[in-house]
């Protein structure tokens, strides 16, 4: 069986030109690479090691499940690489490596291969892995470190090198050593939510802030997304709907109570909204295929993101918003099916 026929089971609209899974996936990897490089520049070798571990663990898990299920190995289609990279990019750079590896195992194993591999999973695998880590290790996954710390290319953050299944070394001493002015260990979203300190959107646009490894570079994420959209490998509707709806809703909140809710630009450039909207919400497996469905799906996720951030107990809501969107996408697809030619409403037919 050739790979092209593996993908051939798809609802309309069909792609015009024959494109293989590998080619699209490889292009997504290209689009992700600049973000990875920038993440390593900001957070140093700890981020590099984390990305390598998540990707390697994702590939190893995929291979293991293929072998256990007596299936042809599917690691060549790059989808496991994307899952590994995306997972690494959504994690805090100081996360112990073994947790990253475990997250990748959960992402690929229970998140994808158990359903039958690529194309059959309900949820975005990288986010399944991240949700697992968030629930299992709530402290480690909210321990953020400053960007552009001293000695970041020569020294690991001490928590990175924790023994497997063991607690991470405390990073307080290290934080004192590399202290960037006024850093408190919180991301702009946490600062906003718990201390009502709003970070300047421009500095967030440049990405020199605390956060998950790959979520701090809106410009590169935007460029990567645009590249894929221009090459016709990604739907523009989903990210546009998601970003637009969150911006509009955030602005409405902001206007109702400026002291309490931050503005639209802050919402747009903070947290993982950009990365989530461009690279995770658009996962073709988890999103609807009808164009009306894509709008509904995007708006739903954008609204949920803002609702969780502003009204919920968590500082960041992109992950749960996308997972909920994934869960609802079959339903959305069902109610937005285009009418077949000649089909009429029942009332008319009577």
């Amino acid at each position: 069986m050739t790979p092209a026929t593996v993908l051939a089971v798809r609802t309309s609209p069909h792609a015009h030109a024959p494109r293989s899974v590998e080619k699209i996936m490889a292009n997504v990897v290209f689009a992700l690479l600049p973000i990875c490089v920038y993440a390593v520049w900001l957070f140093g070798i700890s981020a590099l090691a984390l990305l390598i571990v998540t990707t390697a663990a994702a590939l190893a898990t995929e291979q293991m499940f293929c072998r256990a299920g007596d299936k042809r190995s599917s690691i060549g289609d790059f989808s496991a690489v994307i899952t590994g990279l995306l997972l690494g990019l959504t994690l805090p750079p100081a996360l112990p490596l073994w947790m990253g590896g475990l997250g990748a195992f959960i992402a690929i194993g229970p998140g994808k291969m158990v359903f039958g591999g690529l194309g059959f999973n309900v949820f975005n695998p990288a986010l399944v892995g991240r949700a697992f880590l968030q629930a299992a290790f709530p402290v480690a996954i909210t321990t953020y470190t400053p960007a552009k710390a001293l000695d970041r290319f020569t020294e690991f953050i001490p928590s990175t090198l924790a023994w497997p299944f063991m607690k991470a070394a405390p990073i307080t001493e290290w934080m004192v050593k590399v202290k960037v002015d006024g850093f408190t260990g919180a991301t702009p979203l946490m600062l906003q939510k718990f201390d009502h300190v709003t970070t300047d959107p421009w500095s967030m646009f440049l990405g020199e802030r605390a956060g998950s490894a790959g979520e701090t570079a809106p410009l590169l994420i935007l460029l990567g997304g645009l590249y894929l959209i221009i090459r016709g490998m990604m739907s523009w509707r989903v990210p546009l709907a998601m970003l637009l709806s969150s911006v509009v809703l955030a602005q409405a909140f902001h206007m109702s109570d400026p002291a309490r809710y931050p503005g639209a630009l802050f919402v747009l450039f903070s947290g993982g909204l950009m990365l989530g909207a461009m690279f995770m919400a658009t996962d073709p497996v988890g999103s609807p295929v009808t164009s009306r469905g894509m709008w509904i799906y995007g708006i739903l996720m954008g609204t949920l993101t803002v609702a969780i951030r502003f009204l919920g107990g968590l500082a960041e809501g992109v992950m749960y918003a996308i997972l909920l969107g994934n869960a609802l996408s079959p339903l959305i697809e069902n109610v937005t099916q285009p009418k077949t030619y000649g089909e009429r409403r029942k009332a008319v037919a009577k």
């Binding site: 629930a135 290790f137 991470a168």
Partner: protein, 216 residues
């Protein structure tokens, strides 16, 4: 109906106690009583307490049900069964409170819920309502202890991974990073899935071995 008949024929040729404890284990084989199984197994102590409380309810109420089984008209049997089980549950509720308040606080709303545990009614309907007193009580004891065993298996996985302790004693050293997830509700589902996977795998392997032997 056919499944029920089957269950009765299986129970007829095995010992009622061993049947519940292992062969037809309420959680791992029949997958009954999922509410307490998932909800209160986040520590071994809770799991054992819940298992024992359920066992007590089952033994006492099945004894009573079986004793009056010939008097109960068919039309009101479910109502009578539930009344008797609910009585047993209320008694247990008082007893647990009298024995230990911390255990009572940990089990919380789940003791009253024993009455709605489908396992208790299922065995009353399928077994105690038809069999003599001693056999019914043995069945209740076996099923109850089988339930307790399964709950303890789950509680073990969840407490060891989620807190690094067993019955409150640290077993994985002070440097172990606990997987908080296992103390939360999703941990219950994940550990139950792991146990069911393990038993399914064992069963499949046994079937394969038997098939291989048969062909030789």
């Amino acid at each position: 109906m056919t499944a029920e008949k089957q269950a009765v024929t299986i129970t007829a040729d095995t010992h009622p106690f061993l049947n519940g404890l292992w062969k037809q284990n309420p959680v791992f084989v029949m997958v009954l009583g999922m509410c307490p199984t998932l909800a209160i197994t986040n520590s071994v102590r809770n799991a054992i307490s819940m298992g024992l409380a359920t066992t007590f309810v089952m033994v006492v109420s099945y004894g009573m049900i079986s004793a009056i089984r010939k008097l109960i008209p068919k039309q009101v049997r479910i109502a009578s069964f539930i009344a008797i089980i609910a009585c047993g549950v209320t008694v247990v509720d008082f007893l647990v409170k009298a024995i230990s308040i911390p255990v009572y606080q940990a089990l919380g709303a789940y003791i009253p819920l024993i009455v709605s545990n489908c396992l208790t009614l299922e065995r009353a309907e399928a077994y105690a309502g038809k069999q003599p007193v001693i056999k019914s009580m043995l069945d209740g004891l076996g099923m109850g202890l089988g339930f307790a065993l399964a709950l303890t298996c789950l509680g073990m996985v969840r407490e060891v991974l989620g807190a690094g302790t067993f019955l409150g004693y640290p077993v994985l050293g002070s440097h172990f990073e606990p997987w908080v997830l296992f103390l939360l509700p999703p941990g219950g589902f994940i550990s139950l899935a792991m146990w069911l996977l393990f038993f399914a795998w064992r069963k499949e392997r046994a079937a394969k071995l038997a098939a291989a032997e048969a062909t030789q």
